[in-house]
Structures are given as C-alpha cells and as structure tokens.
C-alpha cells in the first residue's frame, strides 16, 4: 500500500515529557506498521490508562483507549468478533502487570492472535511516579518516599509461564531493533508479548538510558534460536526452558526474541474447528436481521429451539 511511517501518525501534539521512551516506541511502531503495509482501517490499537496508553491518539488507526488494566479483554472481544482485524495492545507495567495481571495470565491460556506491547518504565508514570510491579526491590526512584519494598515481577518469565507463544524484549531507544521485534510479534500467529524497556526521565532516575546501555545486550540469533521449528513438544519445552533461564538473568538484560512457537493453534483456529464458517463468517461479518426483522422465521425458530418446544397432545 506504500504508506509511510508518518502516514500512521496523527497530527496531535504529543504530551509526553521530553526524552520519554514512549517517543521511541511510537516511532518504531509506525515504522513497523509501514513496513508491514497494514491497512490502517484494519488495525486496532487498544491501549490502557497511563502515559503509555496515550499512544492511541498519536497513531492514525482506530484506537480504543479503555480502562486501566483492561486492554487485553477489550482486545479479545474485538479480535474474536472480527478476526480480520490486526489488534495491538499497548500498556504500562502497572496497567498490564499490576491491575491487569489476571488478564495477562488469561491471554496466555487463549493464544488469541494479538500483540501485547509493554511500556516497561518501572514506575506508574501518569500518577506521578509510584513504584510499578517491574521496579526491583530496594530501588528508590525519584518520587518514592522510601526504597521499593516489593520485589519485581519478571515480565518475560511470567509471559512464558502463562503460555504466550511469542515472547521478546526490546528497548525503546533502539529504534531498529524494536521495530523488527514489533514486526515479528505482529506477524506471529498467536499471543505475542514484547517487553519494551522504556526510560522515564521524569520519574525513573535509576533506570536511565545510561543504565540500559550498560545492562542490555543483543541476542545473537546465530547461537540463540528461539523459534520452535517443528510441531514437537520436546523442542517446544526445551526452548521454553532456555528462554526461562534467560529470563532469570538479571545482571545483564538480553534484547531479542526469547521464545516463539508458531505451532500452538490460536483461539481463532480452535474456534474455526468448531464453527464451519469461522473466520470467514465472524460475529462481525454475519448478518443479524433481515430488513429490520429477526433472522428467525417461525420455522427456523422451531428448528433452533426444538428441545424446548412441546406440542399439546390433548386428544391423543
């Protein structure tokens, strides 16, 4: 379709702080969309509440900015109703792994074909810098009155344990890497998760670009092969375990795809096994009435609800 990255941008002024990692995520996203040549109308960007969530109005595609923590079920309802749409979720660490952690785990069990992009700044940005679930223990970022008393959740490990079939980590300021990872995530058939390390210069004065520069490294896919190549449980398990081990590494943070298993049927595929016509005829694309009248005629009514119909046999 030949749309350029900027064609995927709206003209709104962006109200993130100067130097915010969200700018990087936004630009990698639009780059990826343009390279994927996605029809903007057929994409839905679902985002939660937080600085991260505001991305919805900077991208020139249908946007569903919803409730804090609820993007995943919103996305699930959209995608299953209309599987023609490409659905991408953007959310913060509080959004997806704090208040939304239950949905995060549930999506893993479904493997709905959506992409989840975590803006991982380790703080609650929009509420002025409280500790988020990914902030490590003992760290005192700017707005905290005391060092963090909670341990951090490990997003990659949690995604792997929950059943995501594509799990990756990237970094907001590595535009090209992030763009590639997003492309692969969107192209992946199934629930894809990308943990994007994101500097928040305003509140996270510990995990700065310098910090990430120091601590991150790229996975070299010449000796790191995250892809499950055969529909073989053993291979899947082995690669999952390796990914998990890598996820536990905290001294240095690997960037790249940790795990990808394209052989697990998506929810849509499993639905298609049951509905003869899905996804061709989906809830969104099948008629629901005939000229303002119900599709049910008295005859079809009797067929569909046959189990509930009783004829009076009086006289027999």
């Amino acid at each position: 379709m030949g749309l350029k990255p900027q064609d995927y941008r709206t003209q709104l002024w962006i109200d993130w702080c100067p130097g915010c990692g969200n700018f990087g995520i936004l630009s990698s996203l639009t780059l990826a969309l343009s390279e994927l040549s996605i029809d903007p109308k057929k994409l839905v960007l679902v985002s939660g509440i937080g600085c991260s969530g505001k991305i919805f109005q900077y991208v020139n595609v249908p946007g569903v900015h919803n409730l804090h923590g609820r993007s995943i079920p919103f996305a699930t309802g959209i995608k299953l109703s209309n599987p023609e749409l490409t659905v991408i979720v953007h959310g913060g660490d509080g959004d997806l792994l704090g208040i939304g952690a239950g949905h995060f785990v549930a999506l893993g069990r479904r493997n709905v074909d959506v992409t989840v992009i975590l803006h991982d700044n380790r703080v609650y940005g929009l509420t002025k810098g409280q500790a988020s679930p990914t902030l490590p223990y003992g760290v005192k970022t700017k707005a905290l009155t005391h060092p963090n008393i909670h341990y951090a959740v490990n997003p990659i490990a949690l995604a792997l344990a929950s059943g995501y079939t594509f799990v990756a980590r990237s970094y907001a300021l590595e535009a090209k890497h992030l763009k590639e990872v997003i492309k692969r995530a969107v192209q992946h058939k199934g629930s894809a998760f990308v943990d994007v390390l994101q500097p928040c210069p305003t509140f996270n004065d510990v995990h700065t670009p310098e910090y990430y520069k120091r601590i991150t490294y790229y996975l070299d896919e010449r000796d790191w092969d995250p892809l499950v190549r055969n529909p073989d449980e053993r291979e899947a398990e082995e690669k999952l375990l390796k990914a998990f081990k890598l996820a536990l590494e905290e001294e240095r943070l690997a960037l790249g795809v940790f795990y990808q298993n394209p052989h697990v049927p998506t929810f849509e595929e499993r639905l298609a096994e049951r509905f003869k016509t899905y996804p061709r005829a989906s809830p969104a694309t099948s008629p629901i009435g005939r000229e303002s009248r119900t599709l049910l005629t008295p005859e079809t009514f009797q067929k569909v609800f046959r189990d509930y119909i009783v004829e009076t046999l009086q006289g027999y």
Binding site: K54, P73, A281, L295
Partner: protein
Amino acid sequence: MDEASCLLGGFQGSGVETSMMVLVKALAHAGYSVLAQREYYSNITGRHSYILMRICSSREARSLSYPVHLIAALDSETVFTHAFELTEGGLLVLDRDLFPRKLREVASMEEQLRERLERRLASLGVGDDIESLVEHLASHAGVKVVAFSYRSILSSVGEKRRIPPTQVNRYLSSIIFSAVASLISLKPLYVEQALRSHFKGREELVANNMAVFEEVSARVREAKASLELEQPKLKWERLLVASGNDAVAMGKVAGGLRFQSYYPITPAADESLFLERLSYDESTESLLGPLLVLQVEDEIAAVASAIGAALAGVRSSTTTSGPGFDLMVEGLSYAGMNEVPIVVTYYQRGGPSTGQPTRGSQSDLFNAIFAGHGEFSRVVISSGDHLEAFYDAAEAFNIAEKYQVPVIHLLDKFLANSVTTMPFPDLDKIKVERGNVVAGGEGYKRFSLEALVPPRAFLGDAIFWHTGDEHDEYGRITEDPENREKMYRRRIEKMQLIRDELPRERKLTVQGGSDSNLLLIGWGSVKGVALDALEALEKEGVRGAYVNLKLLWPFPGEEVKKLLSSAEDVIAIEHSYGALVGKLISMELGVKVEKSVVKYTGRPITFDELQPALKKILSGVEKRVVLKHGA
C-alpha cells in the same frame, strides 16, 4: 379443583430437577399451564432442594402457593420440612422405608429449622420420627398418605428392565414425577413424550422411566389416591417449556446476539449454558451464523470483552448476578462514556455479598440504576414473566443500539429458575433496529455534537477513536471546558429522548381495573402473584390494578404520575427490605409511596400470603407488611 400446588422434594443431586422437567413437559403435553420453581441451597449434593409447582387447568399458572395440595418426597428431610404445609386433606407421597427415620438423624438439615421442628413436634406431642408425623397428619389434618417402598419399586423395575443393581438407583427420582403424574391421571403417552424429549430419544432411559411410572401408577391406584384436578381447558397447540434463563437466551438469539461473554455465577450461568449448547450447533450456525460464547476469567473481562465486541459492530451481551455486576461497574461507566451498546443481563439473587446465592431477591434495583461513577445514560428494563423476558431480551439490543447506551436487563432468580409453559412468541414483534450506523469516511465524527445520538461506525470501517477520557467529536482526549459541557450534556440528554420515544407498553403495563382506587405497583417477578392476588381480591369485591414497571430507568415519570394521581391506595410490592421501587417513585415524582409489601427471606412471595397482606393494608391495620412464609 381447576388448579393445584405440588411440591417435589429431595436432596440436591438426587434428581429432583429432572423430575420437574419431565413432569412439566408431561403436563404441557396434557395441556395444563404450569409454573414450577426450584428452591435449593448453594450446594452441589446433599442439601435439601424442592420444586414448588402450580398446575392450572383453565388459566395461566403465574404464581406459586404454599401450603400445597401434594407433596412427593424423596427423603425424610422433605417430609419433615414441608409436611405441615400440606393443605387440609392434601396428599403426601413418601417412601415407606423412611418411616423409622428420626428428625435428629437428618444431618443435612440446618440447625435452626431442626430446632423449630423439634419444638413444634414436641408441642403437638408428636414423636420425632416420620411415622409419628405422618400418622399425626393423617389423623389431624386429613392428609392422605401414599406410602410405598421406593426400594421395592426400583428393584422390581430393575429386574424387569434388567438394569444392573448399581445403576437402578438412578431412577429413584423418577418415582416422584411418576407419583404426581399418576395422581393427576396423566396419560402415559404424555409422560412418555416428556421423557423422550428430556432424554433426547435415548430410548433405553425412556423405557426404564416408563417402567417406573407404571409401577408407581399401580401403587397409586392401589392407594386409591388422586388429585382431583380438572381436565385442561387451555387452547394451545404448541408451547415452550422454558426457564427464565432459557427465555432470555432465546430472546437474545432472536435479537441477533453474536457475542456473549460470561463468568459463571448463579443464577445467571444457565443462560450461557443454553447459548453454549446452541453455539456450536451446526443447524444454528447455518441458519443464524456464528454465536460466540466466551467464558472469561472474571466479570471485568466479561464486560470489557463485550464492549470490545460491540465496538466491532456485534450485538454483544454479558450476563451476571450481583457480585459480578459490581465488578462490571467500571466497564459500564466506560460504555456510558463511549456510547457503546451492550446488554448486561443482571439476575438478582439474595445479597449483600455472596448472600444467598441460590435464593431470590429484587434488592439490586439501585445498584442497577445508580452504580457507576459519573453521570451517563443507561437504560434499565425488567420483565414480568417468561414471555416478557423473551421479548425484552431481544428488544434490549434495539434500545442499546438506537440510543447507543448500555442496557441492563434486570431479572431475578425467581424468574430465572422457574420453568413454565410459555406461549409461542410472535416473531413478527421482534425487530432488529440498529440505529444510526454509518460507514465512516473522511472526517468521520464518531461523537458528533450535531444530534443526541451520534453516527456509529464499526471498527474496521473507519478511523476514529474511543477513550474513557472526555473527548472531542473524533474521540480524542480533550479537557476543554466548553467541549466538556456540550459532550456531557448531549450524552445525558439522550435519557429524555429515550423517555420520549419509547412506546408506553415498553414502559409499563397495567392490568386490572385501572379506574380503581387500589394500585399495586411492582416490577419483574412480582407480576404473576400480584395479578393473582388482585383477581382474588376482586372476588371479594375489591377492584384494583397492577402496574408492571418495565422501564425502570429512565423512569417513566409522566405515565406513573398519571396512574398514581387517581389512586387512593398505592402499594409497592417487592422482594426487598426497602420497597425500593417506592423510593424510586418518590425520587422521580416527589410523592412518597407509604404502603408496601416486602419479602426478603430469599423465597418468592406466594399467593397465599400476598392476598392477606394486601387486605391488612387496605383495612388500615398496617402500612408495611413483611412476608416471611416459605421454607
């Protein structure tokens, strides 16, 4: 008699429900009208459960009554719990082998009831075993006892039909529907058809059950017992036997439902079970298209995914009860803010909190109307009976889509879990009106300020935005105070539009002498019993009308005001403590409804108690009567 009340009881899991279904279907085949309600504990196996049933020969069964004319008991707890509630001369069918059972041996019985019964038996000087009780009833209350050994029935059937001894017990509960059917002298053909329909043609089961029926019929004949119920005079050819859950599910399908999300909860889950059963049915799919029923991780996800589906252009719905609804409130507020047409089917049960999960109430009226932060348009409707529930479930989508608002269909356990013989709906009445749907296009404004109901495009058709933040006409966040004022006002003023446009019969129905001084007012499952009570009062010379409020929000103030203005006695009837509907009227009209009949034990208001309560109020003895009857 042209109507009879029966009670079938046994422990939860012993087949009482199956018995009910077979019996109702058999009675329907015969042409009776039946209303049957399940009363059960929040328990899977072991606690006492029973069916309260009204069977009518010449009119619609629409309320329940307790005491009953007939009890068919599977166990001693049923006998102890209900035996005193037999009408003078009533029939008691029970297992002779239970005779030696003592009250204190009924481990599953709750302490409070046991203590009450102990006191009662003691004060009557009756022994605390079944036999003594039965004897007492026979001699003092004219109860006709039909006792035979259930075991012997089963073993004889087992032999005849070569059922392995380990399996023959499965037919225990068949004894009770057989007994009732026999006592009413139902033709075997009706019973057989009912079994065939219930067991979906598994002939082995049908035949085994018929064998039980024959055996039991013989014992009943031996006992020379019968329930003198008149032959049915109703003129139906074909009807539906459905619970309230079923009726709603059917209505939703008729209304074009394509996406239903749910998290299991009593008494809502059976509706989704119905839809799930249907959803992968090939014939349904080829006739109607795909119906996606999604069990989700919680009610928050239920409402969120339903909203997502609605944004994709799908008629979507979710179904729940009080605890689940509480969790949906934030989502509801989002739907209000984004003018998303979703339908939330809300089955009330006993609250607060987990409350009485399997008992009924109407105590969530204000939760349905007022829960949710911020002001936004919503519609709350209710249904007075199964047929209304069917139509309303379908129409809910039209209201939701035409006005782009969340619609709450407020029902309750009494309706949800009662099974009735329901007339065939008139499908011509079911409209599918989608309102202001557009294709989008350049410069499309989803939230245009030009009309109260803005043009709606679906995801996939156009580029536009949604946000729970205050937004401009395109759906982008803005905090501008002028935009705020206009957008906020437009969203709320839809309420007046709804009030103006909905036809009167969607707002309320009035039955009875509308010229009379007495006005009963209620909503939902109160309807049947209120009408029956009115009919009975009329026989005593008191004329009155019942206002069945169907549109609870926006409140149909004009219409109600007119009705109230001409009435002298206005009595609110509700399954609650507060007679909330009266407070709603007061809020909207500035007129206090001072008189009420309420019940909050979790059991339905029955005919036998409502009529006297109304009389007490009419005679000026009381302003508020609290009903307490029922086990």
